[in-house]
Symmetry: C2
Subunit: 489 residues, 2 copies
C-alpha cells in the first residue's frame, strides 16, 4: 500500500524537531504547521486557519456570543472600508492606527478620490452612524457588537496568531447616558471574557488596568488580561476600554436626556481575538505536538482499533459500536484505516492534539475494557468500557478544568513581588512578571522599559492595595500603583 505520499507522511519531517523549552519560536511554528492546524499563505503575515483551528474560533465565538446576547448586546455589521477623513476625527485614534493601515486607493481601473482604510478597528465607521441613531435617552443604552476580521499591517516579525496582519475578533461598542452606567459594564464584560478563557481556551490571564502609556489609542482607560508565554514573555489577551466622551465629542454623538438637556454619550469598547488561539497552543502543547482543550477540540476522542488479519472484523465492529455509543456525548472519530499502523496513528493524533485516545483490541474486548490515553498529561489507563461510556462527559470536563488549573498555577507562579530595581531586573531577566510598586510617573515607566526591555503589562485589580506605604521601584517616591512589568511579545 505504500505510495509516495504515505512514505512522505511517515517521514521524520512530520514530527516536531524543536524543543518548547529550548527554542520556543521554532517549536511553536512547527506545532502549528505540522499538526495541520494552520498554514502560511501567499500574503506575508496572514495565515490560513485550517479546519481544526477555525473550529476553535467558532467555539469561542459561539460561547462569547451567547453570553453577550444574554446580557442584551446586539450584533451588527459595518463596512470593512473606512474613508480616511473619518479615521482622522479622533486624534489619538488616528495616530495609533495610521502607521498600520492597509489602504485601498484604486477600484478596478479607477483611482479613488479619497483613500479607504481596510478597518483596523471600526470606531470611525460605526460612530458616524451612531450619531444618527442616538437621539434620546430612550435609545440608550445601545450595546452593539461585531464579529469580523481586521487588518493591522505590523512591520515587526509576524508570528501566527500572536502577531498577524489580519485577525478575527469581536469588537463591542456600547453607548450609555452616564459615566456610571458605562463603568458598570466593565465587570460584566471582563467576567464573560474570564469565563471564555477558562471554558474554551483553558487559559488564565491576570486582570488589570493598563497604564496611560499602554492604553488603547483613543481610550480614556484600558483594562486587559495578560498571559505569560513559555518563553517568559507576556502577551496581552482580551481587553476593555472606557472611552468616556472622547469619541462621542469627536463624532458629535449627543442625546436628549430625561431632563431634556443634551449631553454626549459615554462609550466603552472591548474585544477578544484569534490571538488567544496562539496563546492556547503555546500554553498547552508539548514536544509531541498540539494539545487541545476538550471544549474546543474538533475531535475530542479518537478510537484506534488494534487488530491483525484474524481479529480485524471483530475489533473494528466492536470499535464502531463503541463509537456509536459515545457519539451523543462527544465529538468522536474512529480511525480504522488499514493503510496505517496503530503506532503511526498514535503519533498522528498526538501531533494533532486530540484530548483522548481510546485503544481497543481483542484482549480489551474480552475483558470488556479499553485503554484510555489522555493527551495533555500523557497518562494511560485501563478502564471498563461501561464506566468509560457513563463517565465520558465528566472525564472531558475534568481535563478542561485541569488544563485551566495548570495554566493558572503556572502563570501565578511566575509573578514575583519586587521592591527594588535590582530585583525587578532579575525577575524580568528570569522570565517573570515583576510585580512592583510604581509612582505613576511615565518617566519611570519609560526608563524601566528602556533599561530592562520590560513594559507595564497591567496593574492587577486585586493587588492595588499593596501600593500603600510602598515606594516606587525606580525613583523611591511614594507608590500609587502596583504594576506587573514583563518583557512582551
Amino acid at each position: 500500500m505504500a505510495t509516495n505520499d504515505s512514505r512522505e507522511k511517515n517521514s521524520p519531517n512530520r514530527s516536531i524537531t524543536a524543543s518548547k523549552q529550548k527554542d520556543f519560536s521554532e517549536w511553536y511554528v512547527q506545532v502549528l504547521l505540522k499538526s495541520d492546524f494552520i498554514d502560511y499563505t501567499a500574503v506575508s503575515g496572514c495565515i490560513a486557519f485550517r479546519p481544526s483551528a477555525y473550529f476553535v474560533w467558532e467555539k469561542v465565538r459561539d460561547y462569547v456570543d451567547a453570553k453577550f446576547k444574554e446580557d442584551g448586546i446586539e450584533n451588527v455589521y459595518f463596512p470593512t472600508l473606512i474613508p480616511e477623513h473619518l479615521l482622522q476625527k479622533e486624534k489619538e485614534h488616528v495616530e495609533g492606527f495610521t502607521p498600520e493601515v492597509a489602504w485601498v486607493t484604486q477600484t478596478g481601473d479607477t483611482k479613488l478620490e479619497e483613500r479607504l482604510a481596510v478597518r483596523p478597528t471600526s470606531e470611525a465607521i460605526m460612530y458616524e452612524n451612531l450619531s444618527k441613531w442616538i437621539r434620546s435617552w430612550r435609545d440608550l443604552p445601545m450595546r452593539l457588537n461585531q464579529w469580523n476580521n481586521v487588518l493591522r499591517w505590523e512591520f515587526k516579525h509576524p508570528t501566527p496568531f500572536l502577531r498577524t496582519r489580519e485577525f478575527l475578533w469581536n469588537e463591542g461598542h456600547s453607548a450609555f447616558a452616564s459615566k456610571e452606567e458605562a463603568e458598570a459594564e466593565l465587570p460584566r464584560i471582563m467576567g464573560i471574557y474570564e469565563d471564555a478563557l477558562k471554558d474554551t481556551f483553558a487559559i488564565f490571564g491576570i486582570q488589570g488596568r493598563k497604564t496611560q502609556k499602554e492604553k488603547f489609542a483613543g481610550a480614556a482607560a484600558s483594562f486587559s488580561f495578560e498571559h505569560l508565554m513559555p518563553d517568559g514573555k507576556a502577551i496581552q489577551g482580551p481587553d476593555f476600554h472606557h472611552d468616556e466622551q472622547r469619541f462621542s465629542k469627536a463624532f458629535e454623538i449627543s442625546f436628549t436626556g430625561r431632563d431634556e438637556r443634551a449631553d454626549y454619550i459615554y462609550q466603552n469598547t472591548y474585544a477578544i481575538s484569534s490571538r488567544e488561539i496562539g496563546v492556547m497552543v503555546a500554553t498547552h502543547s508539548d514536544d509531541k505536538g498540539l494539545v487541545l482543550p476538550p471544549n474546543v477540540a474538533k475531535v475530542q476522542i479518537v478510537i484506534v482499533p488494534i487488530y491483525n488479519d484474524k481479529t480485524r472484523e471483530e475489533v473494528v465492529k466492536h470499535a464502531a459500536d463503541l463509537e456509536k455509543r459515545l457519539a451523543s456525548s462527544a465529538r468522536i472519530l474512529l480511525d480504522s484505516r488499514d493503510e496505517y499502523s496503530p503506532g503511526w496513528k498514535f503519533n498522528e493524533w498526538e501531533l494533532k492534539g486530540v484530548p483522548l485516545r481510546i485503544e481497543i483490541g481483542a484482549r480489551e474486548i474480552a475483558e470488556r475494557s479499553v485503554t484510555v490515553c489522555t493527551r495533555y498529561n500523557s497518562t494511560k489507563e485501563k478502564v471498563q468500557e461501561e464506566s468509560l461510556i457513563n463517565g465520558i462527559r465528566e472525564r472531558l470536563e475534568s481535563i478542561q478544568k485541569e488544563m485551566y488549573n495548570n495554566s493558572k498555577r503556572s502563570i501565578l507562579s511566575k509573578v514575583r513581588k519586587v521592591l527594588t530595581y535590582e530585583e525587578l531586573k532579575l525577575a524580568v531577566e528570569e522570565g517573570f512578571f515583576a510585580q512592583a510598586p510604581w509612582c505613576g510617573d511615565e518617566g519611570c515607566e519609560d526608563r524601566i522599559k528602556d533599561e530592562t526591555g520590560a513594559k507595564a503589562t497591567n496593574m492587577p485589580l486585586d493587588s492595588q492595595q499593596d501600593a500603600e506605604r510602598k515606594s516606587c521601584v525606580l525613583c523611591s517616591r511614594p507608590a500609587h500603583h502596583i504594576v506587573n512589568f514583563a518583557r512582551s511579545h
Copy 2:
C-alpha cells in the same frame, strides 16, 4: 412626556410614503431605512446591518452551517487579501473579477511592490494552499467552506443587499478525485440551499442551469436559484459551480490516485449571500413596512398591553406573566412603555415587521383571551389565552410555511411558457419569466438580450424535457434547452 425626539418619531416621515406596486425602488429603500433594518454608511454602496438585519443573517448562517457540517463540510478561514499574480492564474476568473476589484496598494506610508486585491471571492488565495494540502487520494474529498465578507466594486447604481459593494456569504470549495463524485455534490448542496430559502427567508427560487454566457467566471457549469422581484425583474439567488479541472490545472493541484497515477482534482464551489435578505424583504414586505418570516425575526412576538391609569397595574402585570409563559417557545418582547400610545406601538412594530402582535387589555383578561394580529396577512383574531400558549410554536411554523407558499405561488404564477418571439417580448414586458425553447446558440441569446433587455436567468432543471421537438424561440432551429428569460436586477 413629549420631547423633541418623540415628536420626531411620531412624525409622518417614519411611515412608508411610497407604494410597493407603483414605485418599487423607492418603497424598498424606505422599508429598509425606516424600519431601522439597515442604514447607509459613509462608504458609497456599503450598508450597515442593524441588529434586526444581522440577526437574519446569523440565523441563515447557522442553519446552512449546521447542514454543511452534517454533510461533512469543514470551515476554514483564508486571508482577505489576494496578491495580484494569484488572481491572474485562471484566465476567465481574472477577466470576470478584475474590473470590480478594490486594490490595496499601500500600507502605512509604504507603497506595496505588488497590489493586493480585497477578495471578491477566494479561489485564488485558497487554491495556492490546496496544492500543498492535497497529495493523495487519501486527502480527498476535501470539502472546505468559509463564511466571510467580500468586496465587488460594482459601478452600477448600488441597492442595499441586492447590489452592494460589500456583502456577506458562504463560499464552499470542494475537491474530489473524480468528475462523478464532484457531480454528486450538486443535488446535496442545492438541497441544503432550497431548505434554507424555505426555512429561513421563506422564499422560493427556480432551480436551473446557467447558460455558458451567464455562468460564473472560471466555472465549467453553473447552477442557480432565480427569484422574481415585485417589479417583475429577476434576481439570482444561491449558486453552485462545477469547475471541473480548470482551477486545479491553473493552480497545479494534483494527487496520486489509488492506482498510483497522478491526476488533477475536480472542484466545485457554491455560495449563498446576504443578497437574499433583500429578496426576502422585497418579497414579503408591504406598504406598512417590513414583514419578517418568524424563523429569522429577532422579535417574533410583541405584546402590547392596553390600559388606562386605573387598569395599568393589572394589565401590565398580566402581560408580563404572559410574556414569561411564552418566552420558552418564542422570541418575545413586552412593550409596556408608558410614553407611547398603543396606536403608536402598533405602527412601530408593524413597520419593523414583527410577525405576531398580541394585544391585551382589561376586557381580554376578564375573558381569558387575547387579540392576535398576524403581520404578513393583516388578520386579527380573538384567541383563548391557553390555546394561544399551547399552540404558539405551531402558529409561528404555519406563518413561516404560508409565507413560503405565497412566495412559491407568486413566482410560479409569473412563469409563462412562450413559443414565439412576440410572446416572449410580451411576457418580458409584463414582468414574467418567459419560458422559451432555445437552440443553444449564444448568438440567439445575445440578440434576445439586446432587443428585449431580458437575459437567460437559468434553464429550469425540471423543464428540459419540454425542449423536445420544439423550435428555438428566435431562430426556429431545433431547440435543445428550455430557458427562463427575464429582465433582471
